[in-house]
Symmetry: C2
Subunit: 306 residues, 2 copies
């Protein structure tokens, strides 16, 4: 799977991913109004609004980008109807040829992690039939439970040609509370990074591993250190834009081949029309604002890498 992602990054010359993390407050009124008229001010109405909002952004940007990253929490907050909108989003992005990174941050012990892996990137047997329940291409995984929480995901990656990104150093302000603690003089995130490198050798796909890592754009110097610790891992880099990261900070997340990282922006793209910079598009043309924001982000990152 990681080869497919890297090929798409090279073909589109765009090491970026658009985070489809819709909040009701981002969605232009013309969309919510129509959805509520059809489904009422209900969870179903909110879910329909979310899907239509996503569809507009995907239609306006899919030719520029290799991948999307829907954040499942933003759908799960609307219960079952929200999760149906998540699944519809995954399927629609597949129709458009995009790699779908499910930002699910799941993680549990043994067979329970196996169940999450099955549901999101695997297949399940019911009687004589086989199903692919959520069908993301790649999932994010929380490592706090250790190897026996992560390996069931890797088994499913190997069985179905899928990938995972393991949380190593997250982009949020308090990520250091546990992740930066020094163990024999070495921060915990480096120890997790070493494990990612070790796990990754069991699922290679071309020059890179199906086992990647999440490292926040907001910690560029840690990104540089982790790049060396995990040479075969693609690093998914959240925190660009709204959280403060910029293209010039991200150079050291990449390898010399120009690969090895994919930078995510969510709010900065999907709610671009709300920023002064893109306000001229207006709410009616929110998706065009997103397209322009994608173009600017690609230029910023490719400019820094050049």
């Amino acid at each position: 799977m990681i080869k497919r992602l890297n090929d798409a990054i090279q073909k589109k010359h765009a090491p970026i991913v658009v985070g489809l993390d819709p909040m009701l407050g981002y969605i232009p009124e013309q969309i919510t109004k129509k959805a509520y008229a059809e489904h009422g001010e209900t969870l179903e109405g909110a879910a329909e609004a979310i899907f239509q909002f996503n569809k507009g952004i995907v239609d306006a940007t899919y030719d520029l980008i290799p991948a999307v990253k829907p954040q499942i929490a933003m759908y799960e907050q609307f219960g079952i109807p929200g999760l149906m909108a998540y699944k519809k989003t995954v399927d629609y992005c597949h129709e458009k040829g995009l790699v779908v990174i499910g930002d699910i941050k799941r993680g549990d012990i043994g067979s329970t992690s196996g169940a999450y892996a099955t549901g999101h990137i695997g297949t399940i047997q019911v009687g004589a039939n086989t199903f692919t329940p959520f069908d993301e291409d790649i999932a994010t995984v929380n490592p706090y439970l250790g190897s026996d929480g992560v390996k069931p995901f890797i088994d499913v990656c190997n069985a179905n040609d899928r990938g995972i990104f393991v949380l190593v150093k997250t982009s949020n302000p308090s990520s250091g509370e546990f992740q930066d603690r020094l163990v024999d003089g070495k921060p915990l995130y480096e120890i997790v990074g070493e494990k990612v490198a070790e796990w990754g050798l069991t699922s290679m796909d071309g020059d890179y591993s199906n086992v990647g890592a999440v490292v926040g754009a907001t910690y560029p110097e840690m990104g540089a250190a982790l790049r060396k610790i995990m040479p075969k891992a693609v690093i998914l880099v959240p925190g660009y834009g709204a959280q403060g990261g910029q293209g010039k900070d991200l150079v050291h997340f990449f390898n010399e081949d120009g690969l090895g990282a994919i930078v995510n922006s969510s709010r900065g793209i999907i709610a671009a029309y709300k920023k002064d910079e893109y306000a001229q598009f207006g709410a009616a043309n929110y998706a065009d604002a997103s397209r322009k924001a994608v173009e600017d982000m690609i230029a910023d990152i490719n400019g820094a890498l050049a």
Copy 2:
């Protein structure tokens, strides 16, 4: 919320919780056959089988137990229909007066953790209407992202009288890989435990906090240490029975008031009829086997505490 749980534990004299973690392999043929006849060998058929299996166990045990803990991964693996069975299970257990601990192990940054909290233990506004999407009473939370990943859950606990159990030391064999690493001579799980104690002071409910902790039965000596570090936290203790823990190992998870811990058993209860000990019940009477296993577990733990 934690007062409601403690009251139910005292009333039923049963500091235990039944883990509703159904696997298709546990479900007697008479149930799957009927479900597949109605819905086909589909995700919907599997979901119906799971719900009916749960219902049998809940009907046979609800008068003995204060709480259930459905493990969402076991439902999520069947996609949307599976999650609908999860929600039906939550609602059915509420009808029976049980406290529902959603074993969801979610955790993310800021607003994203807020979205998970909203979806599971909170309420969400759509236009003029308010919804409680999944409506569990308590949720398990992963702490790897630090305070700003956990606090949004606590805010929702305070707004809606709900609770959380934060993963501190999990029951699985490789939990030590990161959780036991020594930071200034102190294992990471103790540092997480100290944070749980600190967070807990912001959401007290009677003598205990709505912010509890997960500590595996498989590590009793660590349980004793953590009991002291988090005096006001109720400890949810997985790993009893099938994973190896026994009543006598669990005494030090409790406080002198006889409260402070709730012990989970999943497979040992819900698949009791598959064990030699309870084989005389047979698959037809699987729920009666579960009832007997609950009685034996309560006797084992209360005997050790006496």
